[in-house]
């Protein structure tokens, strides 16, 4: 990271061990080099911590395992003879639009088998696979990112290592910026990797089941929307990780850093429901809630990919709201970090 302008300090006549005999190789001391060194230091900590690996493994196993299991079901269903499939009878399910008023023929059974396999194929092939990824990887597994961020930031206060770090030379802001960068460095590849892994496993399983759809749909606009969808998915994670950074700094503990965003995640839909049932201005307050706008960003891209309805707000509106939240989280965390006494 710092390959130039380093200095080596030696004191050959010094007492062994006290004044050093071994050289001390110092890195560059400009602002950016110090920041990069701190980022490297924090990445080293994350890498050495089993927790980060365990969280990534959980995400990989759940997403990969989910698509693998769906694929196994598809392969199993595809291997069954058409006679194993019986369409719904209108006598039993009068409101089912595909119900039969007569005993099923072989053609009816083959049609039913194809209907079941098509249903599974939607979940295994792109772009339908991204619908499941949005529901699980982005909306649910964000908890894993919150745990990591809460521990990475709040843990410095909980352990008391913040006083070790704040007495070594770099500014407090450099330490905080390093954390913000490390969260980004960790979350971007992790979310994209799991997302692409899920797509790959889904695609492979779909082909093994004989319901593969190929990549014919992947035009340039679709690819562009997919990239935006993936980036907004990362933004969803990163926003809540920055919220964990904010709460961890505010509460000076990893517990607060984790619980704060989780409570927000749980309460926002409830409060949204309460406000939208109110008349007048109050029902527009949820338009400025964080998760609502993050999901709207994602839904807009999914709609462009022909998956579900569009989000409730325009992309521009949502981006501005999210940016304000992120600036608030980072700004207040910076202010607290710089201004507060370290009494831990």
């Amino acid at each position: 990271m710092d390959t130039a302008n380093t200095s080596v300090q030696t004191s050959p006549g010094a007492l062994p061990g006290v004044s050093h005999v071994a050289p001390i190789v110092r890195g560059r001391s400009d602002y950016l080099s110090v920041l990069l060194r701190l980022i490297g230091m924090d990445l080293y900590k994350v890498r050495r911590r089993r927790l980060s690996l365990v969280l990534l493994l959980i995400a990989v196993l759940l997403i990969g395992g989910g698509f693998f299991a769906t694929g196994i079901v598809a392969i199993h269903d595809a291997g069954l003879p058409a006679t194993s499939y019986t369409p719904d009878s209108c006598a039993q399910f009068p409101y089912n639009p595909g119900c039969l008023n007569h005993p099923p023929t072989l053609a009816d059974r083959q049609h039913e088998k194809q209907r079941v396999l098509d249903g599974l194929a939607i979940y295994l092939n792109m772009p339908g696979v991204w619908n499941a990824e949005e529901r699980f990887l982005i909306e649910q597994f964000v908890v894993l990112g919150i745990i990591l961020a809460g521990i990475l930031v709040g843990g410095e206060y909980s352990l008391g290592t913040v006083r070790l770090m704040f007495t070594r030379g770099p500014t407090r802001l450099q330490f905080l910026f390093a954390k913000i960068a490390v969260l980004a460095i960790y979350v971007v590849p992790a979310v994209l990797f799991v997302m692409l892994l899920g797509s790959l496993i889904g695609g492979v399983m779909a082909h093994l089941a004989g319901v593969g759809a190929g990549l014919g749909f992947l035009t340039a606009p679709v690819f562009g929307h997919f990239v935006l969808f993936a980036l907004f998915g990362v933004l969803f994670w990163y926003s809540f990780m920055l919220m964990a950074l904010f709460f961890g700094t505010l509460g000076r503990s990893s517990v607060v850093g984790i619980v704060g965003p989780l409570v927000w995640l749980l309460l926002e839909p409830v409060i949204t429901g309460l406000f939208t049932s109110m008349p007048g201005f109050a029902q527009h307050i949820p338009d400025y809630f964080l998760a609502n706008n993050l999901l709207s960003l994602i839904y807009n891209q999914m709609h462009a990919l022909s998956i579900g309805d569009a989000g409730a707000y325009s992309t521009g509106h949502s981006l501005i709201v999210v940016a304000v939240y992120l600036l608030a989280f980072v700004g207040v965390a910076c202010w607290l970090t710089v201004r507060r006494d370290v009494t831990h």
Partner: protein, 347 residues
């Protein structure tokens, strides 16, 4: 101890104050630590020692007053100052899931040392210095308190700092460990380092420090050269044959001090550590022959006379009025009454 930079102020505080609403933790503190000093920072629990050290390191902002380190104001030049300091503040804190050497790597990176293996030799050297060479690869959470303390000391020394702030560095160490730390501090002083040492173990402070400051309830009550403080108002211990002779000698010397021997500033009777009656005469040691002669003229034979120097612990306990195990033992011996007059022993 001071070398070519003698009299250069390494730490200077002027009117340093820290208040937490109604609680004043540190009040109007004026400290002066010179280059090469091994400076003892003493005070009972809650006296404000750790708060002062935190303010020196920029962890806590003073409510009032100024701190200057290496001649630089720490409010504006903290990030030039901190790389020149190695510190232990209160209990050692490190990342429990990392090994000792990995923790040193983290400290090294935060201290501006290059990442990677460029500084491995220095880290190995420091681990050996604090006797953790064999356990450096073990996870920090498996360390005993003494090992954690030694790692903290290693981290403080890692960058070869000019000033070393040590807040209770011997906490959790066994007697051998305490002795090693004392020897290490002595070597640091020989190497020209400035050491600021906060400790409750006063005998250790007395052995290694050349200057001390004593803090009580946030206020500086004494600061100066250890030897000067302890020998201030030189005191002679005079033993006679019997308690009766001791009483006679007390009267003779008290009368003489009001006439021609006015260099005797105080005379009191008491008992030594063995419970034997003795006189404590505050007078220059060079006048001991005159005292002997005076008593001889009055038919009293001095059995023993020597200079009595107060220990730092006695001095500290008298100044702060606190009690401690060793202090209580000293009081039983009756020594404490001697320094500050003939009143009854402190209870």
């Amino acid at each position: 101890m001071a070398t070519e930079h003698a009299h250069e102020q390494v730490i200077s505080t002027v009117g340093l104050t820290k208040a937490y609403e109604s609680l004043v933790a540190v009040s109007d503190l004026n400290l002066e630590v010179l280059r090469g000093d091994v400076f003892g920072f003493l005070g009972p629990n809650g006296a404000g020692k750790t708060t002062t050290i935190r303010m020196l390191l920029g962890l806590i902002r003073p409510t009032a007053g100024n701190i200057s380190l290496f001649g630089l104001d720490n409010a504006t030049h903290l990030h030039e100052i901190l790389p020149r300091i190695g510190a232990i503040v209160e209990t050692p804190v490190f990342y429990p899931y990392l090994s000792g050497v990995d923790n040193l790597r983290i400290v090294a990176a935060a201290s501006g040392m290059k990442l990677g293996r460029a500084n491995q030799a220095r880290m190995d050297e420091v681990l050996d210095l604090v006797d953790l060479g064999a356990r450096g690869g073990d996870t920090y959470r498996t360390y005993s308190l003494g090992m954690k303390q030694r790692l903290a000391l290693g981290a403080a020394l890692l960058t070869d700092p000019e000033l070393i702030l040590l807040d209770e560095p011997t906490n959790g160490l066994d007697p051998a460990g305490v002795r090693e730390i004392r020897q290490l501090i002595g070597r640091l002083a020989e190497a020209g380092k400035t050491v600021f040492l906060s400790s409750h173990i006063l005998s250790e402070i007395q052995q290694v420090c050349n200057r001390v400051a004593i803090l009580q309830k946030g206020k500086l009550i004494k600061q100066g050269d250890v030897q000067e403080l302890l020998s201030g108002g030189q005191q002679l211990l005079v033993r006679l044959g019997t308690p009766e002779e001791t009483e006679q000698a007390l009267v003779i010397l008290q009368q003489a001090s009001k006439r021609d021997m006015n260099w005797i500033t105080r005379v009191s009777s008491g008992s030594d550590s063995h419970g034997q009656p003795v006189l404590f005469v505050d007078a220059p040691t060079t006048r001991s022959q005159e005292i002997t002669a005076l008593l001889a003229r009055n038919g009293l034979i001095v059995a023993e006379m020597y200079q009595h120097q107060t220990s730092l612990e006695e001095f500290f306990l008298e100044l702060t009025g606190t009690d401690a195990g060793e202090g209580a033992r000293a009081r039983k011996g009756g020594l404490l009454r001697t320094r500050f007059g003939s009143g009854s022993p402190a209870k």
